[in-house]
Symmetry: D4
Subunit: 177 residues, 8 copies
Amino acid sequence: MAKSTAKRTARKPAVGLIMGSQSDWATMRHAAETLEALGVPFEARIISAHRTPKRMMSYAAAARGRGLKVIIAGAGGAAHLPGMTASMTPLPVLGVPVESAALKGQDSLLSIVQMPAGIPVGTLAIGRAGAVNAGLLAASIVGLGDVKIMAALERWRARQTDAVAKAPSDEVATPHR
Amino acid sequence: MAKSTAKRTARKPAVGLIMGSQSDWATMRHAAETLEALGVPFEARIISAHRTPKRMMSYAAAARGRGLKVIIAGAGGAAHLPGMTASMTPLPVLGVPVESAALKGQDSLLSIVQMPAGIPVGTLAIGRAGAVNAGLLAASIVGLGDVKIMAALERWRARQTDAVAKAPSDEVATPHR
Amino acid sequence: MAKSTAKRTARKPAVGLIMGSQSDWATMRHAAETLEALGVPFEARIISAHRTPKRMMSYAAAARGRGLKVIIAGAGGAAHLPGMTASMTPLPVLGVPVESAALKGQDSLLSIVQMPAGIPVGTLAIGRAGAVNAGLLAASIVGLGDVKIMAALERWRARQTDAVAKAPSDEVATPHR
Amino acid sequence: MAKSTAKRTARKPAVGLIMGSQSDWATMRHAAETLEALGVPFEARIISAHRTPKRMMSYAAAARGRGLKVIIAGAGGAAHLPGMTASMTPLPVLGVPVESAALKGQDSLLSIVQMPAGIPVGTLAIGRAGAVNAGLLAASIVGLGDVKIMAALERWRARQTDAVAKAPSDEVATPHR
Amino acid sequence: MAKSTAKRTARKPAVGLIMGSQSDWATMRHAAETLEALGVPFEARIISAHRTPKRMMSYAAAARGRGLKVIIAGAGGAAHLPGMTASMTPLPVLGVPVESAALKGQDSLLSIVQMPAGIPVGTLAIGRAGAVNAGLLAASIVGLGDVKIMAALERWRARQTDAVAKAPSDEVATPHR
Amino acid sequence: MAKSTAKRTARKPAVGLIMGSQSDWATMRHAAETLEALGVPFEARIISAHRTPKRMMSYAAAARGRGLKVIIAGAGGAAHLPGMTASMTPLPVLGVPVESAALKGQDSLLSIVQMPAGIPVGTLAIGRAGAVNAGLLAASIVGLGDVKIMAALERWRARQTDAVAKAPSDEVATPHR
Amino acid sequence: MAKSTAKRTARKPAVGLIMGSQSDWATMRHAAETLEALGVPFEARIISAHRTPKRMMSYAAAARGRGLKVIIAGAGGAAHLPGMTASMTPLPVLGVPVESAALKGQDSLLSIVQMPAGIPVGTLAIGRAGAVNAGLLAASIVGLGDVKIMAALERWRARQTDAVAKAPSDEVATPHR
Amino acid sequence: MAKSTAKRTARKPAVGLIMGSQSDWATMRHAAETLEALGVPFEARIISAHRTPKRMMSYAAAARGRGLKVIIAGAGGAAHLPGMTASMTPLPVLGVPVESAALKGQDSLLSIVQMPAGIPVGTLAIGRAGAVNAGLLAASIVGLGDVKIMAALERWRARQTDAVAKAPSDEVATPHR
């Protein structure tokens, strides 16, 4: 990804990509890259539930009015950003559990997915895979009302299918999971 | 909920509510009731990834063409229904981990949420809370293109907020979590 | 405990005892009873991080000005109330993980205790024991500036020590842990 | 193992060794090497439940007709390949949980082993040990109808027993577990 | 199941169904019933790795010579029966983790599945589902050399598929998972 | 067990059986019964690490001088009694994790077994099985210097072996694990 | 932090910062640095519950008389220092679970937080975050009776809020969590 | 430790130190060093429950007759060596869970500690700490009948207590836990 990923395009964003700290960007940039690859306009922001609660409230409260369709929120440890954002907007909120140092994201996962009845967060896998998938799921939601994005998603999925080799190779460097 | 919840209305369904077995209905009916309360048309089906794999494939492959917008899939144990459905449709798929006998849904949760990069499932909480929230999240996704549903969702949320008492009461029977 | 525990005394409260829902009262009343036994004035409120986020913000923001010294917050599942309250007040916040249905409070515990550096929550044990201990810890904090409460706490602890029998008895009905 | 392990012999394969991605080969090659050492003909294929569901269905449906006796399936995370393959063939299916990045294969293990009643997967240990053992178990199953393979397996086991030293040595480099 | 299930038929057994104690029979009888339904001759024995280690050794050492093809071993807690049996016979051994009192079979599962490289145990799910599936997997292994059993297995699977209802019903009593 | 189990015999005790509270007696009485069956003289005491720390120190410091050979300590939750006792006596200390309400003894187990290098606690299983086994292990330690006790232990083990039935029975009421 | 952090200032300490071993200092120094940054006088001591139980008792028993207001105790594995200290002083005790080698602090966390009703420990997160937060929470407790410290805490929190960037940057080196 | 640790002295061994494989020696040598430091004669052997079951049986059956007093058994993963050895000797058996690759010794711990009622294993901590402590606990058991060893143990413990520094130091290299 080029340096410019963090600074987003002129098109009005459909997806708000928020995260608890700069350190989460190493994970969440995979969501950004995926959205970019699918042509989904987005904005990326650092919003800490704990260190900037007012910024979180303003962002969540204004999100729908600003035209956002989906919010992707990534956080680690006692990860409150996705659930608290969901409590303040009727937009769909997707949560990405960032891998934490000691508990490897088990705390992040449970803090995000185990929301009580009434306020949902659509939760993805811990870490990079979850960030990529948050981008894909956001695209499929936005794509319900945008045939170009849905078509891009289908091309992306077809390419993914075609890229699976028939048999394992001893020569290929093992990619990271 | 009246007996008729399992048999759905004449309106074309926007949400496909599928589950691995009849025993999952005790959990998933809470998704049905929520969709019903919000006026989101849906259909409910039993589709077992393991016992009826062909039914699953047909359902997933046809879902978008039939006009479905979102699929909610509930399953327990080694729960493959949400992920496999997601592998065969570009529609957003939401997963509900049904509480399992021995491991209390920990197996269900990990089998659904830990999808590899490429095929997302938006996962909700284990059990009843997750089923209710799958209904709410589906409504918010469908509501992006349907102002009536979005309005119903906002009213539902406002009523929920208003229903929270100021102080705990010794007289109130404790509702189940 | 008499019915009147939930409605508190005329003395200005030193401790704010808040919880996410009426169902948490079955656990949190043990904190109330402990504070009452030690003569610590308190108020009990239902404040849901997810269903009443604005109420939570108002409460947390006003707490110090209203003369509260300590806040005890109990919640279950993806329990965000203690951490979010702590993000909006410099007062000490104590968290009680309420036992959840499927994961038995493991989710509640991690959601409360694994706070990132910057915003602390002093976390107690899951369930009744944690609620009792939140009351005791709040009393010891308030007691640092109130010799009567510290004396009451020491008497309570001495009585507790004296109440431990020398040897186990087959006749005694086993109390619940 | 020589480079040629991934490309298999001319003999008709008795074991189908499938895995979700090239990255799983680092683990699953230990199954291949074990089968090779025991003279069990096999084929190795990449088949992703999520990225290539149709390839999976074709492979599973054709397996018995093509003369395969056993299928070994390795996958990580929300690992659906073993269970889904088992849902489409009456052949014995053995599952190898590949170690995942964040949860160290706990998700892989539960996703494979916790199959509901009706569709079995014989599950081995997480990682390399499981892959070796899948090869051994497949050999013992094939060996029930092939005395040469059963004899080879018994020789392999006898050599293994003989190779255990009497006492630990400070000089020996510690082999990886 | 009739009382006579525990006392087996005159046909020479192909499957040895062993368990650590009488208390495991409540789980393991589901394996017995499944084998019976598929026409697989078997014998059922109590063999405790810890309380009757010599019986275990004799049984395992003699198993192949007596004509057994597969051993199913069920045990709970620190469950050593499956692995120790596998260490003394080249026959395929399948393990069923019986649900334990405190840890709900998590100890049983890890004690059975995490075998070191060299001695495999094909492990099934915790509890009843695992017992049923051990019966099915044993049948598919025996069926590789017995067309009648393989045909019975296929009919069983077809009936299972046909038995899945199209839609959930409010009238049906929820069966246990 | 007769009511008199908690009040012990005139013989000088060889084993000190201590526990954190009266509620632990339901578990620890199984240790008492086992010691009684083997003729090992013992005393039973309630000693709470947290509520009676001074009693714990006195007991541990005096234990060896009073002629005790082994201490069995049972406790639940954040179970500090076994480890703290071991820190104040060179006698062998055995720990029994009592099953806790929310975490089912996982907290008790880790709090007892994960002692740092320098102060050992020989830990048994969670709950009743662990209590029985603490009695047996204490007997085998005391038996190293008392042939009568070692002989009683061997008879007990032989009877246990003889009591294992050959085959499971549908008629036998399932004993609890 | 300068080398002099471990040797403390002339002002009478308000916080006793104790830890089980020198190796815990790598974690607990973050508590020291936080207290230092907020102007809270403290002392740092090594006190091992298991290796120096008498030192622990003396320290805990004398703490209040010496003018300490709060004790912060850090330990790993079967971490008994926080709970045992709390059993011998009415002062508020805060516990920091130090990350352990094998179980990554899960044992430390449960050994500290799961205290039985009667003796509370206010527990913070595993590792560095918990140590920083123990410092902050101690400051807020001491600050209830010291307006300078409360003011320092509020400035610290305001600076923390101001330091959160608006958007993630590809240029910034990712700080450790 | 000198190279000669693995080859033991002429004195008749009181402790049998056995382990499942050469790779366990990296952990178990800490038990050997501890026994050596305390003057407890021992022998070290590799005995694999799974790869050399007959060697295990012979060793366990002969242990008491050969004059051994205690057996220390270390193993990892599905660790059956301690429990199986205990099933074949009335001597006290101590188990050391060796840290496993994927699950970090959680499988080893549960496989060793969760023994059913009837056959005890005194279990120590995972890894190095557990190995050191197995040596100490064996010494305290042997020391009950050997005043020289008990005296050596007491000196060792006193030195350990004396070696704890008063305060943490920034200069000291952090020792590994």
